[in-house]
């Protein structure tokens, strides 16, 4: 069971290890990310950040989709963390029953012209399009940095942009 799919360019870090994983009571964290999966050092570092009772799996996006569709996944509370909204979209298109799509920290580490959706979410035009499509599939997609912060529906923020 995927309790949340989070977009966070820092992948696993303090906010994940300390707040989200506890809040959502997850047993496992899946990180679908092509780059990280190919880099042993980064894999180590990511696993290290998480409390030992939580399992971490870092896989290229396509393989991760297979894992998430594994029947065994249904009985395990999982948090999925992707780096970009594009990856989130790919996952949503290929994996059913995601309970909550969460946009955390996006866009600070990429350059170029960006639209500011909130102080934590800065989107390039391409990512903005991806977000629009994501919202069509998952209307409840929301921006929320930590569980104690306010949840803002992405659809509302996108709506305000048009004005």
């Amino acid at each position: 069971m995927i309790v949340a799919l989070r977009v966070d360019e820092r992948l696993i870090h303090g906010q994940i290890a300390m707040t989200w994983s506890k809040e959502l009571k997850v047993k496992g964290i899946v990180v679908p990310n092509d780059e990280a999966a190919g880099n042993e050092m980064q894999k180590m570092a990511l696993k290290m950040a998480v409390p030992s009772e939580i399992k971490v799996l870092i896989k290229p996006v396509e393989e991760a989709i297979k894992v998430l569709n594994n029947p065994k996944a249904a009985s395990m509370r999982m948090l999925v963390i992707v780096k970009t909204i594009k990856d989130a979209l790919t996952i949503v298109q290929n994996v059913p029953d995601i309970q909550y799509v969460n946009i955390g920290n996006v866009g600070k580490s990429v350059g170029g012209n960006k639209t500011e959706l909130s102080s934590f979410v800065l989107l390039t035009d391409e990512e903005l399009e991806n977000l629009k499509r994501l919202v069509e599939l998952e209307p409840k997609t929301a921006l929320q940095v930590v569980p104690s912060a306010e949840k803002k529906l992405a659809a509302d923020l996108l709506g305000q942009l048009k004005k």
Binding site: H13, G14, Q15, M18, T19, K22, G28, P51, E53, K55, V56, L57, V67, N70, K72, A73, M76, S119, V145, V146, S148, A149
Partner: protein, 276 residues
Amino acid sequence: MMLYEAIVVSLIVIATVGGAELLGLTMLNRPIVIGPLVGLALGDVQSGVIIGASLEAVFMGVVNIGGASAAEPGLATAVGTAFAINLGGGAAIALPLAIPIGILGLQVKTLLYVGVIGFFAPVFDRLAAEGKERAIIGLHYGAWCLQWGIYGLLPFIGILAGSSAINAFVKAIPPVIMNGLNICGGLLPAVGMAMLLKLLWDKKIYLFFFLGFVLVAYLKLPLVALAVLGAIIAVTIAQRDYQISQLTKKMENAPALATPSGSVNEMDSEEEDFFQ
């Protein structure tokens, strides 16, 4: 006299709250440090220490992780302590003043951070691209001066403008409310402790919380002794854990005697381990 106080307290705020940003995570901005400093400046170190300690107990759970916070304890302590010493009221006065000030302080801090310093980010980028090292260093420290110079105005204005109002207000507090505030000083640390628990609570080890509680409640163990005892327990457990992990590693490396073959589905070992 009021002017002196206003200046000194705002200098303390700049040196501690700003200093904590200048010297990164040195904990200069905690109530237990600021309370005594304000006490020293106003000629009553003893009260400053006591007020600082009781505010520290309340604000102990206020941590700043990933930008998520509830109040700014530094400004709260500085102004709260200054008023409490002036009015001779002790921690019971400092507390109700400190909390709203702390919340206001955080708002202003965030505002400065987003609305003033935030604009320097692209300037830094440009300077780096042009290779202007000196300018980067100048702006690096200049931004600090600007941000904390503005923040330092807060206690200055607060003390100058608010003193008579707060004085009148505190004098008007009826004894039954005053007693309530005293009780509150005893009960509020529970919130701070709860926030720390949220940070540390873990199913495998939560029982140690109760161990600590009982040791102090019944044996009246001083906290220094408790810290040493805790360290000894932790080291012992860590040693055992390490032995166990070495053992399991040996077992895993040894040729598997009878592994029930899991080749029915095509999971690799990593994936299999994940779903265990």
